[in-house]
Symmetry: C2
Subunit: 190 residues, 2 copies
DNA sequence: CACCACCGAATGAACGTTCATAACAAAGAA
DNA sequence: TTCTTTGTTATGAACGTTCATTCGGTGGTG
């Protein structure tokens, strides 16, 4: 991803926050412009339309998520540790960036999502998918499609993060590690 | 839920389908009216506004989901069977009603959802939650918040159904029961 | 008659997008 | 240096369209 012009970034960040609060509906371009501190027309200097703004925003959030992931990885940990680290660091990213979580969830359930090129969608998924693939080869994990297992793990993270952010439940360190343990137990060979 | 007037039902069903295809954005009231075979004004005979139409549609789908659940339950099955039945019958409901699945997913991730009264949201969750509660008392399940466990189970069902409907993976009977098994293993005491 | 479900053209506000214009910088030309 | 040109970035009022909602009217029923 190229270095993003300051105003372009401001537009993306504003859109992110507004969509979290008001949904796709409720965020007119005029509001985006206002919040970003630019004129309405400026948005169209950087983006062809509202649709492409939203599509690019999705890529932007995927990029940020991936960045956050890679930071925490070490090579020298055992397999189970690796799994726990992946689970918890993704979880914490979403906790720290609730607007990203909400935007992604709205996006993937909207008609925008099917219009994205497949490979883009799955890039983020890949790191976990490969990891699970290795575990499968080593006979640690179930003999089940790795796409399936990785998506189940992914969805458990999303779900836990949403509950925490909504404030429906307060998850302490103990609960977090129990959840990671749950998912570990679900995919490992029994 | 009262017996629903025929036209009202037609309006609800049309909205459901249109929202699945076009999202909240893309479904103007005029289209809803056309698809339902009623005049635009008629919608306002049954619903105060587009917002309340969507809110009521959510309740309507929850109702249908609950109906489908209750149909399959028997008292005389053992605990694990009961879990599997719950998991798979919910799964199959979503597979058979993809528009409901997509609508619910869009709805719960939109700003509409937080505006629903809590008890309404959780009514559906309750049956599974109570079931898990019993399992916990009997020492079959983990010692972890039952809300948390039930939501994790719920999200696994949603996720599996979405993958299947998207056609990303084809899940046969074998995969389905493996998934249910996965979730069973995740919440049971190890 | 009164009441009701229903119709659909009309209304007015909201919104995405355009465009004429300006500010500014970098790069020659004199 | 100073002037001119060219390109990029930014502006915000104006436009045309879309859309939720309204309302006067129609036909059927009790």
């Amino acid at each position: 991803m190229e270095i993003i012009a300051e105003k372009k970034k401001a537009i993306l960040e504003s859109t992110l926050k507004l969509i979290k609060e008001n949904g796709f509906h409720g965020t007119p371009m005029s509001l985006v412009a206002k919040k970003a501190g630019v004129a309405a027309g400026t948005i169209y200097h950087y983006f062809d339309s509202k649709d492409t703004l939203i599509m690019e925003l999705f890529e932007y959030t995927q990029f940020r998520l991936q960045q956050a992931m890679l930071k925490n990885l070490r090579e020298d940990m055992d397999f189970k540790e690796g799994f726990f680290l992946r689970w918890t660091s993704r979880y914490h990213f979403f906790i720290q960036n609730p607007d990203v979580l909400f935007f992604i969830e709205q996006f993937v359930n909207s008609p925008y999502f099917p219009r994205c090129p497949q490979e883009r969608n799955e890039r983020i998924q890949n790191e976990i998918k490969q990891f699970i693939g290795i575990g499968k080869e080593q006979g640690v994990f179930r003999d089940l499609d790795q796409n399936l297992m990785s998506i189940m793990v992914h969805s458990s993270i999303i779900t836990a993060a949403k509950i925490q952010i909504d404030g429906k439940l307060v998850l302490g360190e103990n609960e977090i590690s129990q959840l990671a343990q749950m998912m570990w137990d679900s995919i490992r060979k029994q």
